[in-house]
């Protein structure tokens, strides 16, 4: 608790909380663009694996995910800044804890999906349908990231300052 209070009083915490610098809105903007990159790229991969544009080589997602990793990095940073400003209340906020859980599960889902894709790569690039296992993994992963977005939205309605 003392640590969370210290975070709130740190330069980053103060900058995000202060209304004069627009720190909160700048951080939220970074977080929103990052969300569009990370969740957007993941949802497109899921669509492709579920059968959309099956003729598109999956290799195109390799580089796209390198870019999405930068998006995730910026969202970890902007998320940490938002947390610094209000960690005391966020640690008690159930939607926030759920959001973190969904991000971890969504990450695990993505990892399992990409591993299965690696194994079936040759076949998938030929425009063949992905296995049922990959389709289920892709669907669950996509839903987990949508759940992370939903719980993120609910934070705004349940958090106190």
């Amino acid at each position: 608790m003392e640590f969370l209070q210290w975070l709130a009083n740190s330069p980053v915490g103060v900058w995000v909380s202060s209304s004069e610098t627009y720190g909160y809105y700048i951080t939220l903007s970074v977080h929103a663009v990052g969300m569009g990159i990370v969740a957007g790229v993941i949802l497109m991969l899921c669509a492709r694996l579920l059968g959309f544009a099956r003729d598109l080589s999956l290799n195109i997602f390799d580089k796209l995910f390198t870019i999405a990793k930068y998006g995730f990095f910026f969202n970890a940073l902007s998320g940490a800044a938002l947390f610094a400003a209000n960690g005391v209340n966020l640690m008690k906020n159930v939607p926030f804890l759920l959001k973190l859980t969904f991000i971890v599960l969504g990450g695990v889902g993505l990892l399992l999906t990409s591993r299965s894709v690696e194994r079936e790569r040759a076949m998938l690039s030929d425009g063949e349908a992905a296995s049922v296992k990959i389709k289920v993994l892709a669907l669950v992963t996509g839903l987990l990231w949508i759940a992370a977005i939903l719980s993120g939205r609910i934070i705004a309605y349940t958090i106190s300052y």
Partner: protein, 163 residues
Amino acid sequence: MNETVILETIRASWIGQTVRDIPWMFSFLEFTHFVGLCVLFGSLLLVDLRLIGVLKIGNLRSVLKFTNWAIIGFAINLLSGIGFFFSNPVNYYQNPLFRAKMVFVLLAGLNVLYFELVERKKIEHLTAGETPAMDTRVVAGLSLFLWTAVIILGRFLPTLGTG
């Protein structure tokens, strides 16, 4: 009809009433607006980065299929956006950042129109490894710039009113 009458008519419409009267409706629309953002921006990243040449894999005909997801994402956000606006039209209408956001949406729309009418037929035949000419790359870069600006303006709306 002057502005005030038009805005009041919009506010009194069944859409405005529904969004105001059902307690969870506005926040539900915000959720769909965020998912729509991801679908729109994610599909455009794939398409535009391929057009710019950052991504070189994949023939254009397959990549361009993802513009359908951009249309779906935009449709979600147009509908949810209409819900926001109708619930409190005066507040949005008076917000300079909302007006700026709509100008950027319009510019992005014109950019799409130019792409569809002029650029698409030039590039559809390109196969894996081939990057479009400079004019197409500029249009693709402009698309990512304009939509990023739309997202940022959207997040800044509450600083000058509702949003």
